[in-house]
């Protein structure tokens, strides 16, 4: 399978990155991988189930605040705090999805947006837990009882992020190839038909939202100890929109595309903002270009010679 060969090649290249890249490039790469994980988690909803979420920042922010809070107020070792935060995001998502899946289409999207803005407002007001507009600063990376200090170094943390991303990718790939994934695609193509085949599509949708949020929460939970910091910006709707852009520009319904989309978005923001303060304008133009001329995104462009791989 060429797909898995490519996966191992990418894994080896990424694992070797710290030996060849300067320190600041590693900072950027780590952040790009975290955002890639977030975008990939959204792809489960957008690309495979056609559940367009305008509130995926909620997953990221929840994870970021939860791991930040745990690390600031408990002595939990870093990996435990990160996993607990991801779990929390997934559990919260069950309730959210239960409400949001009462609606479909645009109404679903609006409900996700409303939920994310609700969390944003909570984060802004609940000073004792979230630090309000100051956010949580100085988030440590506890070594825990076994004295695992490897994650306190820059490259050690990079490997933690890399392992999480690769693990999440394998998990998602297996998920979308499974019978469960087939039902998700059924919902994407024709929900009424899938329902008439005897599948409780709402339960499937709730499950995929919960999984997507748990992985998005994992990304957020990795971000806050990485940046040492979490603030309300992470929950803002603007960020939800950016993640959606990453998915669409990268290529929805491909898992790998959104990861590339996230890296592309970050890199472009970084390069453009060095030249102009209105970088968002240029990014908007690029986004329009993708939607109009390359709706299958970056990954679609890369694989367009082999149409059998296209998954749109």
């Amino acid at each position: 399978m060429t797909g898995w060969r490519l996966f191992f090649l990418a894994a080896i290249v990424l694992a070797a990155a710290p030996f060849g890249l300067p320190i600041f490039a590693m900072t950027l790469l780590t952040e790009a991988l975290i955002l890639g994980l977030l975008a990939m988690s959204l792809d489960l909803m957008v690309g495979y189930t056609r559940l367009i979420s305008f509130g995926h920042a909620a997953a990221y922010g929840l994870g970021a605040y939860a791991s930040g809070y745990l690390l600031l107020h408990t002595a939990l070792p870093l990996p435990v705090a990160v996993l607990a935060a991801a779990l929390l995001a997934g559990v919260v998502a069950i309730g959210v999805a239960w409400v949001c899946t009462m609606a479909t289409g645009v109404s679903f999207s609006m409900l996700t947006l409303a939920f994310a803005q609700l969390l944003y407002a909570v984060a802004f007001k609940w000073t004792s837990v979230t630090g309000a507009s100051d956010g949580l600063a100085g988030i440590p990376r506890h070594p825990g009882p076994f004295g695992i200090t490897v994650f306190q170094t820059k490259n050690g943390y990079y490997y933690l992020v890399l392992v999480c991303l690769l693990g999440a990718y394998v998990f998602c790939r297996a998920l979308v190839s499974s019978p469960f994934g087939a039902v998700l695609r059924g919902i994407r193509e024709n929900e009424a038909k899938t329902l008439s085949l005897g599948y409780n599509t709402r339960l499937y949708k709730i499950a995929v939202v919960a999984l997507s949020f748990a992985l998005g929460g994992l990304a957020g939970a990795l971000y806050s100890p990485f940046a040492g910091f979490a603030n309300t910006e992470l929950l803002f709707w603007l960020f939800s929109g950016q993640v959606l852009i990453m998915v669409i520009v990268g290529g929805q319904g491909t898992l790998i595309g959104p990861i590339l989309g996230a890296a592309f978005f970050m890199l472009l923001e970084h390069v453009l903002s060095a030249y102009t303060e209105s970088w968002a304008l240029f990014f908007g133009l690029i986004f329009i270009g993708f939607v109009m001329f390359a709706p299958q995104g970056i990954w679609g462009l890369l694989t367009s010679r082999r149409p059998k791989n296209a998954r749109i």
């Binding site: 900072t27 100051d134 603030n231």
Partner: protein, 406 residues
């Protein structure tokens, strides 16, 4: 607008080699250093609601760097400013600062505008081995519970600004006060101090409202202030928010009924709001009219360059630059450990007179000023005029504290 300086890996390598050579061969350090500028990182909010303040701070830094470089630089090395826009977002600030440190080899930071940006940055300073000299960050916690060894605050803090107003308040006949502040760290912090001070002066504090940063319509807030029945309202607003509030307050004739008080009177706001601010009384971190030789020289040089008086944040940031300069000259180095020792207890004459960088909490002891906005004949804009000055020992809080004992 934004300048970016790329340093190639080769240049980095060269400077590292040069640095190593300088360290190992004490006979040639001046020569080796001469090629390498002192880089000062400025992650400054140039866009967004705080952009106006950021622009003032940047102008002051550029003015200072130009002066220093014209005199042959610092320690014989030219000063290079590395300026990046943060849009006032703490996450961006940390990222840009990290980039300056890791990519450009910056070891000195100043010019961060918002307190929440500063609060997000300070925990990283130890890891970066970098000194951050605040130019305007007001939040009391920065020299209190959030103090880190590599942070220094030469500027007037929020609590100090409020303290000056409170001291003035004690002599005022007004009894009842209300407050409006921006809904972020600085707003809440300053309001808490004002409330404590008002109560201590035997006055009634009737309550306060907080508006989100970027509020354009203050009608509901103004209604609340009117309904409060207070004689004076304390404003903790800055930038565009302050301008929007004052313009609207004028429309509603708020100042006819209630004396407007503020933590700080900022010329930028006065220029933007025209006559709306006349009669307002407040603190000033730096009024350009201060009568001391350092300030006179500064104002004269400034006027020659910009054809106008320096504004409040320009003066305050310039003082921070002077402190940084004196520290580097005293330490003979920009190494964090040496510079930290040099800055602790540093005393010098600046644009605000004689100030001392306290070793205990890295806050500069300095006087506080109360000004009233007036418009005299021949003035294009209303201007702040000093009506009271309070000595450093009355204005500066006890070490690591945000509230005062008396």
């Amino acid at each position: 607008m934004t300048k970016t300086h790329y340093v190639s890996r080769r240049t980095m390598l060269k400077s590292a080699v040069a640095g190593a050579a300088a360290a190992s061969l004490p006979a040639v350090p001046r020569f080796a250093n001469a090629a390498e500028p002192i880089k000062i990182g400025m992650p400054v909010a140039l866009t967004g609601p705080l952009g106006g303040i950021g622009a003032q701070m940047r102008t002051a830094c550029e003015f200072w760097a130009k002066q220093v470089n014209a005199k042959g630089g610092l320690l014989g090395r030219p000063v290079e400013l590395i300026i990046e826009d943060t849009a006032g977002n703490p996450a961006t600030t940390v990222r840009k600062a990290q980039e300056m440190v890791e990519r450009n080899g910056v070891r000195l930071i100043t010019c961060i505008v918002a307190s929440n940006e500063a609060l997000a940055t300070v925990p990283k300073l130890a890891e970066w081995d970098t000194i951050f000299v605040s130019g305007d960050n007001g939040d009391g916690r920065l020299t209190g519970e959030s103090l880190v060894p590599n942070f220094f605050r030469p500027n007037t803090s929020g609590p100090m600004g409020t303290r000056a107003v409170a001291l003035w308040l004690r002599d005022s006949p007004m009894k009842n006060f209300y407050g409006i502040g921006m809904d972020y760290a600085w707003g809440h912090n300053s309001m808490d101090v004002f409330e404590a001070e008002a109560k201590r002066a035997g006055k009634n504090f009737l309550g306060a409202v907080f508006s989100p940063t970027g509020t354009k319509d203050f009608a509901t807030y103004i209604a609340k202030i009117r309904q409060s029945g207070a004689e004076g309202v304390y404003l903790v607003l800055a930038g565009d928010d302050n301008n929007a509030f004052l313009s609207q307050a004028k429309q509603y004739r708020l100042s006819d009924k209630i004396q407007l008080l503020t933590e700080q009177v900022d010329e930028m706001g006065l220029n933007a709001t025209g006559d709306a601010a006349i009669g307002m009384i407040g603190g000033s971190r730096y009024p350009a009219s201060l009568d001391n030789p350092v300030n006179k020289a500064f104002v004269a040089a400034w006027q020659a360059d910009y054809k106008r008086l320096p504004q409040m944040f320009e003066g305050d940031q310039y003082q921070s630059c002077m402190v940084l300069q004196a520290g580097i000259e005293k330490a003979g180095s920009i190494e964090a450990a040496k510079l930290r020792t040099a800055l602790e207890g540093l005393a010098l004459d600046t644009v605000k007179g004689h100030i001392v960088m306290r070793a205990c909490d890295h806050q500069a002891e300095q006087p506080g000023f109360i000004v009233k906005v007036v418009k005299r004949e021949g003035m294009e804009h209303p201007m702040p005029e000093v009506i009271a000055t309070y000595a450093a020992d009355r204005v500066t809080p006890p070490c690591n504290k945000m509230v005062y004992d008396n």
